[in-house]
């Protein structure tokens, strides 16, 4: 707990720097990632992330220093090379893009690991810390590194915002963008460059292995909450920022821990929560909707049943016992009891000493369900030429979903009918 307070008071300048740096990195890759995702190039981001490693190693081997600008440059070169290779393989051979991505990713990463191992065994004292590029270490973001990486991150954010309209159109409709004279090739190049840079700056915090998650996961999570592109960018940035802070925190409190996996776990948690709880599209709200439909069907079926009983007796003011209701239709007893007590609370039925009885409103609603059922049966026989003994099952479902407007249309099209196909009266 003390550590928590110590960290979030930001009293230590070091903590401030690391936090600001991590947030910037995570935010910029999240924003760029939105366009990568919408351009359907999520996997490409992963390939670039892995392909960055040999570049970092080569830059170190050639220069002998860990100067962040030189390492960035090396990362950028091989990241770019991997993309060109993917494009080359797809356009010049029969190999499909997914296969090309898999090939390039493993080959580049393999070379990277080879070089990294060679460096570690070379006895070069300056090499310590280079392995941080594998899984990331936010806490090592200090001094010159911090300034370099943050500058690139800010540049990324500014460029993305500047080209917002152009990138959005490129992702939505590339052919159209070309016909109105936009430099589509240039814009694609720009987006690719942004993606490579986002990966390159992000690896300091997360590492090459898990970088794709920083690029894509915030965007995927944000997409669940909104249908507006601008809002999606903002949400992805916030999710990225949050994960950046948590990464810095973990890196500070547990120095032995690589930050990458922590950041990725946190981002993934947010994504899973989004899949589950986002309104409308989320899994929970879909479950709730299905549940609502089920109760609606049960309640309306019970009202319909009581109405049918009333119809037979030509008196809707009679009470029926639970037993009588169950005899009429095979619904599990537990469900019937629950449905009845709910309908009573809503004021559609009353409990009398003899059992259950429709109220006036209950009778009306039951009548409407019966009417819709019979109207739909009639519609099917007339417009779809179905035999009258084939329409009941279908009407059982449709009776619950027809809106008042559709009901009106049905009445008009059928000419305000009096009898259904089974010669029952349409109430």
């Amino acid at each position: 707990m003390n550590e928590f307070i110590e960290f979030f008071s930001f009293a230590d300048a070091n903590i401030r720097f690391v936090t600001v740096g991590s947030v910037l990195l995570a935010t910029s890759s999240a924003v760029v990632g939105c366009f990568t995702l919408l351009r359907k190039r999520a996997l490409v981001g992963d390939a670039v992330a892995h392909a960055v490693l040999p570049g970092v190693c080569l830059a170190f081997m050639l220069s002998g220093t860990k100067n962040p600008f030189i390492l960035l440059l090396g990362a950028f070169v091989t990241g770019w090379l991997s993309l060109i290779t993917i494009d080359f393989i797809t356009s010049r051979s029969r190999i499909k893009e997914d296969t090309a991505i898999a090939l390039v990713l493993s080959v580049f990463f393999g070379i990277g690991i080879l070089l990294l191992t060679a460096i570690q065994h070379s006895g070069n004292a300056a090499q310590s810390g280079l392995d941080k590029f594998l899984f990331g270490k936010a806490a090592s973001l200090v001094g010159e590194d911090l300034i370099a990486f943050s500058m690139v991150a800010v540049l990324l954010l500014v460029t993305t915002i500047l080209f917002y309209k152009e990138l959005a159109m490129l992702c939505f409709d590339k052919a159209y963008a070309k016909t109105i004279g936009y430099p589509v090739r240039g814009l694609e190049l720009l987006l690719t460059t942004l993606t490579v840079f986002a990966v390159v700056v992000g690896i300091q915090a997360v590492g090459v292995v898990l970088m794709a998650a920083m690029l894509i996961t915030p965007a995927a999570a944000a997409r669940f909450w909104t249908d507006k592109l601008s809002l999606m960018l903002v949400l992805a940035a916030l999710i990225g920022a949050f994960s950046g802070v948590s990464g810095a925190y973990v890196s500070y409190t547990a120095p032995a821990m690589p930050t990458g996996p922590w950041i990725v776990l946190i981002v993934s948690m947010i994504a899973i929560l989004s899949f589950a709880f986002a309104p409308g599209k989320g899994w929970v709200s879909r479950l709730l909707r299905q549940r609502r439909n089920k109760t609606l069907i049960l309640e309306e079926n019970l009202l319909k049943l009581l109405y049918h009983l009333g119809e037979e007796k030509q008196d809707f003011q009679t009470s029926y016992s639970l037993q009588q209701i169950l005899e009429k239709r095979a619904i599990p007893k537990k469900q019937v009891s629950a449905g009845l007590s709910k309908l009573r609370k809503q004021g559609y039925i009353e409990k009398t000493p003899a059992g259950w009885q429709l109220t006036l409103q209950g009778q009306r609603r039951g009548e409407r369900v019966v009417r819709l059922h019979r109207l739909w049966e009639l519609y099917l026989t007339q417009y779809l030429q179905l035999a009258s003994d084939h329409v009941h099952e279908d009407a059982e479902t449709i009776e619950h979903i027809i809106t008042p407007e559709l009901e009106q249309r049905l009445m008009e099209e059928l000419g305000y009918p009096v009898l259904d196909p089974h010669s029952a009266r349409i109430p």
């Binding site: 919408l38 500047l162 309209k165 939505f172 052919a175 159209y176 963008a177 109105i180 249908d227 592109l229």
Partner: protein, 262 residues
Amino acid sequence: MIIQVENPVVEVHDLTVSYDRKPVLWGIDLTLPAGSLVGVIGPNGAGKSTLIKAMMDLLPAGSGYVRIFDKPIAEVRNRISYVPQRESVDWDFPASVFDVVLMGSYGKLGLFKRPRQADKDAAMEALQKVGMQGFANRQISQLSGGQQQRVFLARALAQNADIYFMDEPFAGVDIATETAIIELLRTMREQGKTVIVVHHDLQSATEYFDWVVLLNMRLVASGPAEQVLTQHLLEQTYGGKLTVLTKVGELLRKQEFPARES
């Protein structure tokens, strides 16, 4: 029957287009008159979409050239407008109907500039013309096929171009949308615009278009609708592919031959 016109809006000269070295259009040579409703008609795989895409330089020409308003396409981009096939984009993109129609102003705005109030007004007007003003804030994934087509049309209208290329605007739309679209196209023609439409329904072709291009990998006919839509020419267009032509195309692909020597 290939009728050439004086002062054409579109001139296609000896155009050959290949996919993966295999030519799908052979030596197309045609001119189109200004202010007309042009139907590009032919069977599946005839290269109808390929033709209009090549006209707009969306596909590279293996040989030949296209001139619009007697200029190379790059110089007249702001006077042309494209309505792509509905299925060519992902309608699950996070955008509203209004966002998409507003894209119609992007060409004139150029890079970096944000749409101004006047552009927004123009977008709203375009939506009104296609009867979709009530849907401006609707997410595009919630639209029906016909509504999606109208949105694409509105985007093109917002561009206020002089020549329109439309790829199958009548495909998979309801009757109401089809009628609304054809009404709109006629109004545009009256305003002196040229509209080139890829179309696959022969029944309505005579009624809709005043100039017809019949295509089946090669140009079969180009001329006024009543002269072109004859039994004889239609048989030539729909009577199956020319076997030799197809086989030679296959050979070019297999042997990795260029379509032209130089």
